[in-house]
């Protein structure tokens, strides 16, 4: 086991530097940059400052959802209820705001606050139920979250009668979507806060450490005395709360409570996390992976929109990319 020379000479040759960059950060940042440049060559409007901000905002929503999904994936599960939970939070939050405004017109701040509280509460409740079913009753996460998907969809449709909840206060959209702080759009700030929280939990808390161990080997976690049931359940709670935050931001963007808001977002959130590099086998994945994945998916879809690729074809491409990403992940572990 003679030690090899450490990689000191970064940048001696461009190719070597590239290889080392890939080893350190993965190939994804480079691919994203190339995609960004490539779409710009086809459609110059892609490179406008306006579009850059648009991509940043769009990927913020997705990064929040992918960060939630990351927690479920880390513990060897996944959360299929994400999309319908978004719809439920959107509808429930919207209805509460209208109710409050009806009672006391003009109390916009109170209405928005109540809507947010109810939305987060719905997320929390969903997460607790998911978590308890998976961790305590040991039901397969696929089944649990699939059931929850149906339940959330049912509630969202019943509450709204299937119609969007219109006339939400302008204040909601103004503060949570259009506003900015020193030039940074509010959704981007929200995403940074959520991602920061995720980072601190995963890298600095006992809970996060435990989740990695549970994902890597649940029996070892139990034998080592970790409170694995509690920690496993927490993964689903954190996931759903993050998703609720994302849902409220998305509601603010559309300006109405939408029973179909979450439609494609379950696939997108899993896609972003997996493409970003989170392992489906559990125990491996970082917050930065959620960011990469969100950027990738957003650049891809905004780009395809700009060069007018058909919506259905976009779905097909995303599906293929996800499967390819999982395959690459397997190759990576096989050649370790």
């Amino acid at each position: 086991m003679t030690a090899l020379t450490p990689p000191e000479a970064l940048g001696r040759r461009p190719l070597k530097a590239l290889v080392q960059f890939v080893v350190l950060y993965g190939a994804l940042p480079i691919i994203i940059a190339l995609m960004y440049l490539g779409f710009g060559l086809i459609e110059p409007a892609f490179h406008s400052g306006e579009n850059a901000i648009n991509i940043l905002k769009q990927s913020s929503y997705l990064a929040i959802l992918a960060a939630g999904q990351l927690f479920a994936l880390l513990t060897r599960g996944f959360d299929l209820s994400v999309g319908q939970l978004i719809s439920l939070v959107s509808v429930a939050g919207g209805l509460v705001m209208l109710d409050v405004l009806e009672g006391s017109p003009g109390a916009v701040a109170l209405a928005v606050f109540a809507g947010i509280a109810v939305g987060l509460g719905a997320g929390l409740a969903t997460g607790v139920v998911n978590g308890v079913c998976v961790a305590v009753f040991r039901i397969n996460p696929f089944v649990v979250t699939l059931g929850m998907l149906g339940i959330c969809m049912g509630f969202a449709t019943t509450l709204s009668d299937g119609f969007p909840v219109f006339n939400l206060p302008e204040g909601l959209t103004n503060t949570l979507s259009r506003a900015d702080v020193i030039g940074i759009p509010v959704p981007v700030i929200a995403a940074l806060l959520v991602l920061g929280t995720a980072y601190v939990i995963l890298n600095h808390s006992v809970l996060g450490r435990s989740m990695y161990v549970i994902g890597s080997n649940p029996r070892a976690a139990h034998t080592a005395g970790l409170r694995s049931r509690l920690h496993l359940a927490s993964a689903y709670v954190i996931c759903s709360v993050f998703v609720a935050v994302g849902a409220l931001l998305l509601t603010a963007r559309t300006g109405s409570g939408e029973p179909n808001l979450g439609g494609g977002l379950m696939l997108q959130s899993i896609a972003a996390a997996v493409i970003g590099g989170v392992s489906l086998r559990g125990g491996e994945g970082k917050v930065i992976h959620a960011v990469y994945g969100a950027l990738f998916v957003t650049v891809l879809s905004v780009g395809m929109n700009l060069i007018r690729v058909d919506g259905t074809i976009q779905q097909i491409i995303l599906g293929i990319v996800v499967v390819a990403a999982v395959y690459l992940d397997q190759l990576r572990t096989r050649f370790r």
Binding site: H204, R219, T223
Partner: protein, 523 residues
């Protein structure tokens, strides 16, 4: 057969004498050279032993022969043919059959299903499934292993899984049989069966590569021994006339005089007191024993006698139906791993891959995992990463984990070093009662003495040690008292001078001459 005669044959060994010839094999992993220009060959009908410290490169060499991964350099000739780009599948087809150090069984399938897993389509048509089934039963019976073909592998003891692995490897056409530490958790009886099998295979002209850290085994079954150290070949010697100390010296580069340290008994207060314990699954019935501060208590018995379950029940991994458990004088009604650790009891499972380690996580996280409720490592449920790093670095150096990099993921370590990472757990917090199940599985001779000395240190500090082991010399030489188990019961209790290999073996089959009642044994 004289040595010179043999060597003559080696010199003039034609293509048919030599089954496998490897020359100049080099294999690098990120950061380490696992094999450095190694020559190795196996003749037909010969047992060629690979010997060397943990991380010397033994398993790596085997993996190259088995086609798990390619060598970076060097050539390989098998059965007279030059072999390049070997895949695991081709290697099996060629008649190379490995039993790996870490198991590769599917835990949710039965023994029988595991035996012909992946072979159904490859070598046998669907129609021959019935024949395969008969064959599987035949092989199990042939081996004389006490295994139920319908048992689910996930519920078997480590030793039984080992037998399954061996049986699986025997189901195919054999030219080269590879055994990587096959006896690490087997007891005398199974080991003897295995050796009988090896003799038979030798007679049929099968070549065998055998890896073991047990020197007496090497001399018993080996024809030649090749010693590796740090990925380099140190030399090849005849097994029959090599001195034990010479082997150890070749392996470590230094002399080791006494394998077993003398550990003074200083039995103090009872730290662990178990009375009339039976488990729900019935694998333990009416067991009573105690472990006192400052003593090592051995538990011996055949595979499946319940010795592993003893520790598992105490640690809260197996539910008990009746019985009383006192830890440090306090009654524990419902033991759980979390609670027992808080009370200062730590369990080290025999199966490090299935239950001990999070393989994809770094050494640091695996070492500190049982101490995440302590102020040393955490504050307000947040990890003090600097303290963690310093403490784990120190422990890893103390246990001589190689390479001593705490950020390396555990699946990149050799088997013995993985074991050390698991043992590191016991040094991260103040443990008063140590429950070891096969603590030296896969550990090299040098490291074994270190572990034994470590046990001595523990008892000197006043810890109580329960040592469950299928390696009889270990129990006999280290333990101050020994309980022998048979079919879930304690059938004998030996103390002081009574502890001899013969005495322990005599009660293995439940025929302990004057098996004392359980109550008396504890007293």
């Amino acid at each position: 057969m004289s040595e010179t005669h043999r060597d003559d044959r080696a010199a003039g060994a034609g293509q048919d004498e030599l089954l496998l010839a490897m020359a100049g094999i080099t294999k690098r992993f990120p950061g380490v050279v696992a094999l450095d220009d190694v020559d190795f060959d196996v003749r037909r009908g010969e047992v060629h032993v690979l010997f060397g410290e943990n991380g010397a490169g033994k398993s790596t060499l085997i993996n190259i022969v088995a086609g798990t991964y390619p060598q970076d350099d060097g050539t390989m000739t098998f059965d007279g043919r030059r072999i390049t780009h070997l895949t695991p599948h081709q290697s099996r087809l060629a008649g190379i059959s490995p039993v790996f150090q870490e198991f590769s069984l599917a835990p949710d399938l039965t023994v029988e299903e595991n035996l012909f897993l992946g072979r159904e389509q490859a070598r046998w048509g669907v129609l021959r499934k019935g024949a395969m089934r008969t064959r599987a039963r035949e092989v199990l019976h042939d081996l004389g292993f006490d295994l139920r073909p319908g048992a689910r592998v996930g519920q078997l003891m480590r030793a039984q899984q080992q037998m399954t692995e061996i049986a699986k490897a025997l189901l195919q056409d054999l030219k080269l049989f590879i055994l990587d530490e096959p006896t690490a958790s087997l007891t005398e009886r199974e080991t003897n069966r295995l050796f009988a099998l090896i003799e038979r295979l030798k007679g049929e002209g099968v070549g065998i590569i055998y890896v073991s850290h047990r020197i007496n085994e090497i001399r018993r079954v080996g024809d030649r021994v090749t010693v590796l150290r740090d990925g380099k070949k140190i030399g090849t010697v005849q097994a029959s006339n090599v001195e034990e100390t010479k082997l150890v010296e070749m392996m470590t580069g230094r002399r080791i005089d006494a394998l077993f340290p003398d550990i003074a008994a200083m039995a103090g207060d009872a730290m662990l007191d178990v009375r009339n314990l039976s488990t729900v699954d019935g694998r333990l019935s009416d067991v009573s024993f105690e472990v006192r501060a400052g003593e090592i208590v051995g538990v011996a018995g055949l595979v499946g006698c319940g010795k592993s379950e003893l520790a598992r029940a105490v640690f809260g991994l197996d539910k008990f139906s009746v019985g009383e458990l006192d830890v440090l004088g306090e009654r524990v009604a419902h033991p759980t791993p979390t609670g027992m650790l808080k009370r200062g009891v730590c369990y080290f499972p025999s199966d490090r891959v299935a239950e001990g380690l999070a393989l994809s996580r770094p050494v640091r996280e695996n070492a500190s995992v049982a101490a995440l409720d302590l102020a040393d490592f955490t504050r307000w449920r947040f990890i003090r990463r600097r303290q963690e790093r310093t403490a784990i670095k120190r422990i890893v150096e103390e246990l001589r984990v190689r390479p001593p990099q705490i950020e390396r993921s555990v699946d990149h370590l050799s088997g013995g070093n993985r074991q050390k990472v698991m043992l590191a757990r016991g040094l991260t917090r103040d443990i008063r009662v140590f429950l070891f199940d096969e603590p030296t599985v896969g550990i090299d001779v040098g490291a074994k003495t270190e572990v034994y000395q470590f046990l001595g240190e523990l008892t000197k500090r006043g810890a109580a040690v329960l040592l469950i082991s299928s390696e009889l010399p270990e129990v006999v030489n280290l333990a101050h008292r020994v309980y022998v188990m048979h079919e879930g019961r304690i059938v004998n209790h030996l103390e002081g001078n009574e502890i001899t290999e013969e005495a322990v073996l005599a009660s293995f089959f439940g025929t302990g001459a004057d098996a004392p009642s359980a109550g008396a044994a504890a007293g």
